[in-house]
Symmetry: C2
Subunit: 237 residues, 2 copies
DNA sequence: GTCTATATCGGGATAGAC
DNA sequence: GTCTATCCCGATATAGAC
């Protein structure tokens, strides 16, 4: 019942993804990855350069797929609103098919993406660029009001990442009955997110202050602060 | 120029917070915390039980403050909309005064809050409960339409956490000019978030599908799945 | 390609002097 | 309360047989 050679790599990758998602890069143990993969530690170093090489390969694979899909959505003939929906669906389905990704993305964000190589960083930039194009096209077509793409990106995407990554703690909270958090399906949350953000992008509104999102007046200020570096990378303060 | 005794604990706590924020619990080094604190490792173990004790004390302190403040907002005489705004301001100001918290929260979420003791979990539940009361009161007063508090919590709060935690990577992206992400002030993003969510909570709208958020029809299903446990806590899949 | 055994080192925690 | 020196386990990575 042992796997054949070709599956070794993918078996190790899957085991590593689960381990990294659960414990982070530093907390992950190569020994445990070996056990999960049903192989042993030496196999990992035969197929991959080291722990970091394994890690970045996982990230890059997923971002590559996500980058291609979001770009296709931006290029499609769908309406701007449909594109926004499709953009969020892409993230949601990525999270569903690769459940290790939301935790890994949260952690990587938390430490300033110190382990993201330039290649993968480019893929992330490409994803953001697709959203920017969707928004621009929407404005050009009169479907959206002007909106800062950075603010929109965070409002739209990050709750879905957070929602997926929080599945374990939501289950724990519900089980221990500290708070009736329930068992909400991701598709429900995604629909909720789409509705909120699309409403805010509507060009015409009722005129209440609450209906007016992010003043388009940039919010972007001159870059002034210089980074003070510590002995190790990834420091916040 | 050496600090006096009473400051030792707080100096260690500050150093530990920075170290945990930058590298996570597993990645943080007690040696480095000692260096940062300008004391030595033995001092840490004199004042704290161990690495974990240090960690949970940092989390609990902040959540205690946040719990008190959000409860006060919920109990106040302000309008429902003002309470939502104040609730988000509380998170934003916490992030500004304790910049180590957003990364720590992101990581804790990512690993299923395995290091959150019941005491702190109760504080987190209290914070969520305050939002729930604000929403309920808003509906009772006719200021809000009914909304699932869990969905609303994620849509409202998590982008602000993410935004703060992403400050380093946004600076890096901007510096390396992969993508023109700019230097956006947190207050601008918070205003944007308030506007979006408050608009979605408005009881009257123009009737477009986009204006309708999360069907109140629960989205909560029966709890069925049993957790399959791995050898170590915090596993996702 | 796959395994066992081992080198090597960093890091959590402690002993004990002052 | 504060420090130096040290124990010791666990974790990355490698050597080398099959």
């Amino acid at each position: 019942m042992k796997k054949v050679a070709a599956d070794t790599r993918s078996s190790i990758l899957a085991a590593a993804a689960a381990e990294f998602a659960a414990h982070g890069f530093a907390g992950a143990s190569v020994d445990d990855i070996a056990v999960r993969s049903q192989f042993n530690k030496a196999m990992i170093y035969y197929h991959f350069e080291n722990k970091l090489g394994l890690y970045v390969e996982i990230l890059r694979d997923v971002f590559r797929g996500l980058g291609a899909r979001t770009a296709a959505i931006a290029d499609s003939a769908a309406s701007p609103a449909e594109k926004i929906g499709g953009f969020l669906d892409a993230f949601n389905e990525m999270a569903a098919t690769h459940p290790y990704m939301p935790p890994m993305m949260m952690r990587e964000m938390a430490e300033g993406a110190v382990r993201v190589d330039p290649d993968t960083l480019g893929l992330m930039a490409r994803i953001f660029g697709s959203l920017r194009r969707i928004l621009q096209d929407g404005v050009a077509q009169g479907a959206f009001r002007p909106a800062n793409p950075v603010l929109t990106y965070f409002s739209l995407v990050t709750p879905v990442i957070f929602f997926h990554a929080s599945a374990p703690i939501r289950r724990a909270l519900d089980r221990q009955q500290f708070v009736p958090v329930g068992n909400i399906d991701a598709s429900v949350f995604v629909a909720h997110q789409k509705a909120i953000v699309l409403a805010a992008l509507q060009p015409c509104h009722d005129g209440t202050a609450a209906g007016r999102p992010a003043r388009q007046t940039t919010g972007v200020t001159a870059k002034t602060r210089k980074r003070t570096r510590s002995t190790r990378p990834g420091d916040h303060a």
